[in-house]
């Protein structure tokens, strides 16, 4: 009998021109290639070292400055100038200078389509899987080679299916779902696998939440994370881009997965990841009362409109006790949040709100953690020293826990507020 194909196999078969199976190593054509300032200069150094005069494929390339935005030091300004000059020289149309947004958010808003094969010089390229693309982060050499040839190679991962059933409780979001999966499976389990998410009731798990989960796909150490395209995907493309998607990228009904896991969304609680590992997942009650020095709401994980909406709902008419930095993931998100009054509420509450940048997530700037400080962040990693001093402690959460904790100055859920 003919074995059906998973979404992963469909995309990789299409991109390689032959029917693929798990563990095959295949050469694939790439639809989109992305890089940012901090990895971009390295990619360009390699391109220039390898291929003087070789024609490149600038039409597939998306460049967005986000890690060093705005430049915090002279070297960062130099790096951006180097990348900007390159973009001008090879005529990159999809070039986003400082302030446009974080690469992964821009890719979602403007470029990624279901079924695409996306390669980016950043591990969180996995975010593009929210739209049903096969998206992998790679190092500078692989990305440089992909820009030169338009192709790369991938190992076809083992497919694993996760079914999201029912709907979430109030204040629980995509981040809690990602943390719940890390709590159950830990960060080792999905190494070498592709996770295909099937949402039983598409509107119960909106695109922002899908983006958060796909973003955290690299923290699952999955080879890729894909949300099987559904009405929510089609709606997103219609509303955000005015595009009527009538695509064909779906798994076959008889597709075979190595295993399947069903998550009852109504049973997912508000969760946090404690230092220094993303799968060190705990209930808020386990850290109740712990003082929080700084809260960061933003990043490619949780800097989207729904995150700012939740933070604004919680902070409306209140004052924060922790320091709080809020960073929308793109200019589009920032503008929309301004229009809807969220930014005003956050500013009135005492937050520092700024334009799109990765900022403190990588310990770069806009709130680097000092020794002994406790940071509660909506970003994706809490490795030792990730957000600054190796003696600081980063906890990860979704936007509702972050906002409530900022208001109370200690680890808290929205329900704890008077």
């Amino acid at each position: 009998m003919y074995n059906g194909q998973t979404l992963t196999e469909k995309i990789l078969s299409n991109a390689s021109g032959r029917a693929v199976s798990p563990n095959d190593i295949v050469e694939v054509a790439v639809d989109l290639i992305g890089f940012h300032d901090l990895t971009g200069f390295h990619v360009i150094e390699i391109i220039e070292n390898l291929s003087s005069g070789t024609p490149l494929n600038p039409e597939k390339l998306v460049i967005a400055f986000d890690h060093l935005v705005p430049p915090p030091d002279i070297r960062s300004a130099e790096i951006q100038r180097f990348v900007r000059d390159f973009a001008g020289k090879i005529k990159v149309l999809n070039f986003h200078d400082i302030g446009d947004g974080i690469l992964h958010q821009i890719l979602l808003e403007r470029y990624v389509m279901p079924g695409y094969l996306v390669v980016g010089a950043d591990s969180h390229t996995s975010t593009a899987g929210a739209l049903g693309a096969f998206a992998q982060g790679m190092g500078a050499t692989d990305v440089a080679a992909t820009i030169i040839t338009g192709r790369t190679w991938v190992s076809v991962p083992q497919p694993f299916k996760v079914v999201l059933r029912g709907s979430l409780k109030e204040w629980v979001t995509g981040k809690d779902v990602a943390l719940e999966i890390l709590k159950v499976f830990k960060a080792d389990y999905f190494n070498g696998m592709s996770i295909e998410f099937y949402v039983e009731n598409p509107s119960s798990f909106p695109m922002d939440y899908r983006a958060t989960v796909a973003n955290m796909g690299i923290e699952f150490n999955a080879d890729s994370v894909l949300f099987i395209p559904d009405e929510e995907t089609t709606n997103f493309l219609r509303v955000e881009r005015g595009y009527e998607y009538r695509g064909k990228f779906l798994p076959d009904d008889n597709a075979e997965y190595v295993d399947e896991y069903t998550l009852e969304l109504s049973k997912v609680d508000l969760l946090i990841a404690a230092p220094y590992s993303v799968d060190n997942v705990k209930s808020i009650r386990d850290v109740e009362g712990m003082e929080v020095d700084t809260v960061f709401i933003g990043s490619c994980t949780n800097g989207r409109l729904s995150d700012l909406e939740i933070a604004a709902k919680i902070m409306k008419g209140r004052k924060i006790r922790s320091r709080c930095v809020v960073i929308p993931a793109s200019r589009k998100v920032f503008n929309k949040a301004l229009e809807l009054g969220y930014i005003q509420i956050l500013v009135n509450a005492g937050c520092m709100v700024t334009f799109s940048t990765c900022g403190p997530c990588i310990g770069g700037h806009f709130g680097v953690a000092g020794p002994g400080e406790v940071v509660l962040s909506t970003s994706n990693r809490n490795f030792k020293g990730r957000m600054g001093s190796p003696d600081s402690k980063t906890y990860l959460s979704g936007p509702s826990v972050a906002a409530a904790s900022a208001v109370l100055g200690r680890m808290a859920e929205p329900g704890d507020m008077p």
Binding site: G137, T141, A187
Partner: protein, 163 residues
Amino acid sequence: MIVEGTVIKLGDRIDTDLIIPAKYLKYTDHQYLAQHVLEPVDPEFSKKASKGVIVVAGKLFGMGSSREQAAIALKAAGVKMILAESFARIFFRNAINNGLPVMVCPNISNVVREGDYVSADLSSGEILIPERGITVRCKELPDIVIRIVDAGGLIEYLRKLGR
């Protein structure tokens, strides 16, 4: 291809923020990166590795970011090879692309000791510890990967092909 050297052991989940913290990513100079490799784990690591060592580690070596400087820094510091129970996908590719051999070796942390002198055959996947008469089996590397490693990395390999 045979790689030999003395073992330095590291634990599970040596992430890329530990291998080379983000504050060093604005440069790609190999010696600069080598000076700071694994600084948060052991500030003396770079000095210890300088005579040429083999790293033996646990699970998910190199997990986290795509920063290629992680592989560059380890190699430039003197790491000749990494044997780990599992690797993060991106780091594994970055290592090969920079001519740093990496092999997946189930359970190796429990067998190999700090200071062991080991000899690794990349094609057969056999790791010998002559002094103790022990052999460890790792997953062998495909020929193409060995050719890339032997050339010193993907760029050098492609340059060779072009000629």
